[in-house]
């Protein structure tokens, strides 16, 4: 690890100021950034910790839905979101292990947009709004590609607001080593229709499975997706599974998510 300066602002305004420094890098739970720095693959000159900002922490139900502060840990979401959005709490409760869940944050995960992370599927399937220090970004505009988002340089996530669905479920199939999602599917049923978001499977990062959304919006049952096929064209082939295997998982997990939605 290279040397760096460390600041821990207590307000969003102070964080914005700190992020304006040359070589500044936001640090939330550090579950990706810290190992990257230890491997000397990243060398920020200033680390700006976002976890000391009270207004960026917590779970709160408001008029627009369930708002979660960007610096809220997975463990907190798992413990506090269940009463409002059980599928989201369930997702958070199954990220990594207890150490990861007590350090990692929703803002960090959504900003990093790892193609195998769990949270992006919930954000996209819920049609959530990503709130930053500058603006509000709709989920459909936010995820640009693998490790790529609509965030500008120096912009950071202060919170995410999730419209609460009638029913939802997240089903993840673990990559055997990392236990990230080899493929994960988040299904959310709203009065306006069903949204299905898939993580872990695509070379382009999290995506919506439009055919399944249409079929499920018409008939919210596992059998509705039985006849659909998933194209393996843009899906990931790696050590742990081929594109064809992932295509199979997308369908199997979608059916299981629908069956288990609550």
């Amino acid at each position: 690890m290279f040397n760096f300066d460390f600041v821990k602002p207590s307000s969003i305004a102070d964080a914005v100021a700190a992020m304006a420094q040359t070589g500044a890098q936001a640090l939330s739970g550090g579950q990706t950034l810290t190992p990257t720095m230890k491997q000397r693959l990243a060398s920020p000159s200033v680390l700006v910790s976002l976890t000391g900002i009270a207004e960026m922490k917590g779970v709160c139900l408001g008029a627009d839905g369930l708002s979660i502060g960007g610096a809220t840990t997975h463990a907190t979401v798992a413990a506090e979101a269940g009463a409002y959005y059980p599928a989201l709490a369930d997702l958070a409760a199954n990220i990594g292990d207890p150490m990861v869940r007590n350090r990692g944050t929703i803002g960090g995960s959504v900003a990093n947009n790892d193609p195998a992370a769990c949270y992006p599927s919930a954000v996209l399937a819920s049609g959530a709004t990503v709130v930053t220090n500058k603006r509000k970004i709709a989920a459909d505009d936010y995820f640009v590609g693998m490790f790529s988002t609509a965030l500008d340089e120096g912009e950071f996530i202060t919170g995410v607001t999730f419209p609460v669905p009638e029913k939802a479920a997240y089903v993840k199939f673990n990559q055997p080593a990392s236990r990230f999602a080899l493929t994960g599917v988040f299904v959310a049923k709203y009065a306006s229709g069903v949204r299905v978001a898939v993580t872990g499977a695509s070379n382009n990062g999290v995506f919506r499975w439009a055919e399944a959304e249409a079929a499920l919006s018409a008939n919210f049952s596992a059998s509705a997706v039985e006849g659909l096929t998933v194209s393996a064209a843009d899906l990931i082939t790696d050590l742990h599974g081929t594109a064809a295997y992932r295509a199979n998982l997308v369908k199997v997990l979608t059916k299981r998510a629908v069956a288990g939605a609550k």
Partner: protein
């Protein structure tokens, strides 16, 4: 009634007090005044010619004290292979020099070609990065696939070895014609081609070494993560650096696991010693986990074709195998023994097979060295045999249990000389098979299968009847087979004047629980309290000698040496007692910690005898030396042969291919058991590693020799929820006939016996589910592979 102390008691592991309370002392915990930090500079290409290394910039960086390259060690010795194996044509194996630091060429990703020593770790890292930038390596085509390596004479890992073959070994070559004839006339032949997947040992504690040099005395000290400090001393002293053995102390303090990977001497140990001498300051090197993936000796990595000739009703007539065994870029210390004498000699399994022939070609590739890993050759043999037996049963429509019962050796056949050169001394394989069938509730399988089916899961049951040769090893035998060392062990029992006891053992404990078990044995034999005994190990300046811990040898070999030393203590004690009690030595009996005159109430306690030995006022000084300390060396007469039967049940999710272990039952024969709790723990750990190999672990190099599974993000270690609650039994014991404890060893058994049970269970599940086209799936039997097999 279970005992609560001594041999056979489940005494709590005394070492766990310090381990669990954070008071263990591992190499990394040792902080020395004036210490410096070494960082290795490792190749990021698999194969390349070192054209130039410009050390000037790195050497001038802040805090840098020294820069070493292969050039600095070109005149010292190589790190040798411990066994000389001859090819079928009688020619000796090819032995390229394994230098301290790569010189001329780099031969695998992670091959260290330079080392930096600096005042701080980060300064050393900075300079290492600079040096890498200032090094010109011309990348050469990587040799990764073994078949291609053997076929392509132009592309060579070592320029002097044209076909990349270390040796082409036949066992037993003289039997080959008879084996071939048996196949020609056999009513049925089953053929199976399989891969025994390469594993990274991943001990909890990465390797670490600290070198010290005393400029006043010329003494060296190496503190290192070793399973055998004396062997490391021998290799460093006699072979590599040429330091006299009596000027080098090797200490292996608390060591966090090894599984074989810490048997061997590695170049970093020589670097820190040479650097300490050059600087006159302690030099420490602590591996990062990612370095462990790149530079620890890996395990397994065989590609095998096995054939089994049988009658139509499943009587095994002959076994024939052809194996390519990867040794990686250099010969690690046991690498030539593992695929040969620890593998080929086991190829009859626990069966009465008249004809067996084994061919092994070991192949150099541009990958990390491969050597013994928990089980070492025996898991590879067991997997091949137990998979092909199962395949034969399926091909012939025979019951897997009955076919094994038909072929297993029976108790009246011992001692039994196998066609591959071993003499099994004792066993009762029917008893362990029956016990496994009972404990695994084989009778109830069908109802469990139906319950799984109701959940949409395919349930299967797999069997493995396994045997191993361990308690390594009789020196006279291994000497004939090519070993360059003896494989005895040693112990000193020192009774102190106040009656408490220090026992110095050659066996090294790196998690096994020796400090508890060895104390139990000595306490039991001497009739004293376990708490009065201290076990000392891991320091060449304190212990007499030792060949270390591996090959399930600590109890069978070192425990036997310790038992012999205790016997000498008792014999001397009798002489002292005879004098004190004014009786003849022949009339003294020793029982329950007391020396007494037979048939009388005249007695002296063990403590009184010890005191007299050190305060010899009433003592036969004219015929007996004072003091009470004895050393014994023990060289085993034979290997020991633990054996057992394992039954695994799995549930397969046919939609995703995910395999869950539903139950795992072990019925083992370890001979006499000293501490049942520790034995159970060893079986749990071994089976856990076997399940890891069967379902999860794999080491993958791409065609350029980049290791794709270089972290826990991609290398899947088994975790608690990957393994079941085991059913473990060791009641069917046939004591070893040739060592004083009757003990066989249990450390590797689980890793040897379990992988085929798991894979057999998966294949069984698929067949029962109608997927009868699936004859085999290579390990790891991952969800993706199972799904592909079902849909293939």
């Amino acid at each position: 009634m279970p005992k609560d102390t001594g041999i056979g008691a489940s005494s709590k592991r005394r070492e766990d007090v310090r381990f669990l309370s954070g008071k263990g002392l591992y190499t990394q915990d040792i902080a020395l005044a004036g210490q410096t930090y070494a960082v290795m500079v490792r190749s990021n290409v698999a194969h390349g010619k070192i054209k130039s290394i410009n050390t000037a910039k790195a050497a001038a960086m802040p805090g840098v004290l020294a820069v070493f390259t292969g050039e600095d060690f070109k005149d010292v010795g190589g790190n040798p292979a411990g066994w000389l194996i001859n090819s079928r044509d009688g020619t000796p194996m090819r032995e390229p020099k394994r230098p301290v630091l790569a010189h001329g060429k780099v031969r695998h990703v992670g091959d260290a070609y330079a080392a930096i020593v600096a005042e701080s770790y980060n300064q050393a890292k900075d300079a290492a990065q600079q040096l890498a930038d200032d090094t010109d390596i011309e990348e050469l085509p990587a040799i990764i696939d073994m078949k291609a390596a053997v076929a392509n004479a132009d592309n060579r890992v070592h320029d002097e070895i044209p076909d990349n073959v270390c040796f082409d070994w036949g066992w037993i070559e003289d039997n080959r014609a008879a084996v071939d004839a048996a196949f020609k006339s056999a009513p049925h032949v089953t053929t199976l081609e399989l891969v025994n997947n390469r594993l990274v040992p991943n001990a909890m504690e990465p390797r670490a070494s600290i070198g010290e040099y005393n400029t006043g005395t010329g003494d060296y000290k190496l503190t290192t993560t070793s399973q055998n400090p004396h062997l490391t001393r021998l290799l460093v002293a006699a072979f590599v650096l040429g330091i006299p053995e009596n000027k080098l102390t090797v200490v292996a303090p608390d060591v966090g696991g090894g599984f074989g990977s810490k048997i061997y001497h590695y170049g970093e140990e020589a670097v820190v010693l040479a650097a300490a001498k050059k600087l006159g300051r302690p030099v420490r090197w602590i591996a990062e986990r990612s370095e462990s993936f790149l530079s620890d000796a890996h395990g397994r990595d065989h590609v095998t074709k096995i054939e089994m000739a049988s009658t139509k009703d499943g009587e095994i007539l002959a076994i024939r195998t052809e194996t390519l065994a990867n040794v990686g870029a250099y010969l690690s210390n046991f690498s030539t023994a593992t695929p040969t004498f620890l593998h080929g000699t086991l190829m009859a399994g626990p069966y009465k097979v008249p004809h067996v022939y084994v061919n092994v070609k070991t192949v150099f590739t541009n990958t990390a060295p491969v050597d013994a890993y928990r089980g070492a050759g025996r898991p590879e043999a067991t997997f091949s045999i137990e998979r092909v037996v199962d395949k034969m049963c399926r091909e012939l429509g025979l019951d897997a249990f009955e076919v094994r019962r038909k072929n297993l050796l029976t108790p009246d056949q011992f001692p039994y000389t196998t066609p591959v050169g071993l003499v099994y001394d004792t066993g009762n394989y029917q008893a362990t098979l029956d016990k496994a069938i009972e404990l695994g509730d084989v009778a109830g399988f069908e109802s469990r299968r139906a319950a799984s089916a109701a959940k949409g899961k395919l349930r299967g049951m797999g069997l493995s009847t396994w045997i191993e040769a361990c308690g390594i090893a009789p020196s006279h035998l291994v000497g004939v087979l090519g070993a360059r060392v003896g494989l005895f062990d040693a112990a000193t029992v020192r009774v102190n004047a106040t009656g408490n006891i220090s026992v110095m053992t050659g066996a090294h404990s790196h998690g096994q629980g020796h400090e508890t078990v060895f104390a139990q044995i000595v306490a039991d034999k001497l009739g004293v309290d376990e708490s009065s005994i201290e076990i000392v190990h891991g320091d060449t300046s304190k212990i007499p000698f030792g060949m270390g811990s591996y090959g399930s040898r600590s109890l069978a070999v070192c425990g036997s040496a310790m038992t012999k030393a205790v016997d000498k203590i008792i014999a001397k004690g009798k002489k002292i007692a005879a004098h004190m009690l004014e009786a003849s030595e022949g009339d003294i009996v020793f029982e329950a910690g007391k020396f007494s005159v037979a048939g009388t109430d005249k007695a002296k306690t063990f403590g009184e005898i010890a005191f007299s030995a050190y305060v010899p006022h009433n003592y036969p000084l004219e015929t007996l030396e004072p003091g009470l300390e004895e050393t014994a060396f023990y060289d085993p007469a034979n290997f020991t042969y633990p054996a057992g039967a394992y039954i695994c049940e799995v549930e397969v999710d046919p939609e995703t291919g995910k395999v869950d272990i539903a139950s795992f039952t072990c019925a083992d024969d370890f001979g006499n058991v000293m501490n049942p709790m520790i034995v159970e723990g060893q079986v749990h750990g071994g089976v856990g590693q076997g399940i890891g190999q069967a379902l999860l672990e794999n080491t993958v190099y791409d065609e350029n020799g980049q290791i794709l599974t270089a972290s826990f993000m991609d290398y899947a270690m088994p975790r608690a929820d990957d393994v079941p609650f085991y059913t473990v039994d060791h009641s069917c014991a046939t004591p070893c006939t040739h060592n004083p404890l009757g003990a066989k060893g249990c450390g590797e058994a689980g890793a040897i016996g379990s992988p085929p049970a798991v894979v057999n269970a998966v294949i069984d599940a698929l067949h029962r589910g109608g997927h009868t086209h699936v004859a085999h799936i290579d390990m790891p039997v991952s969800p993706a592979r199972v799904w592909a097999a079902i849909n293939g």
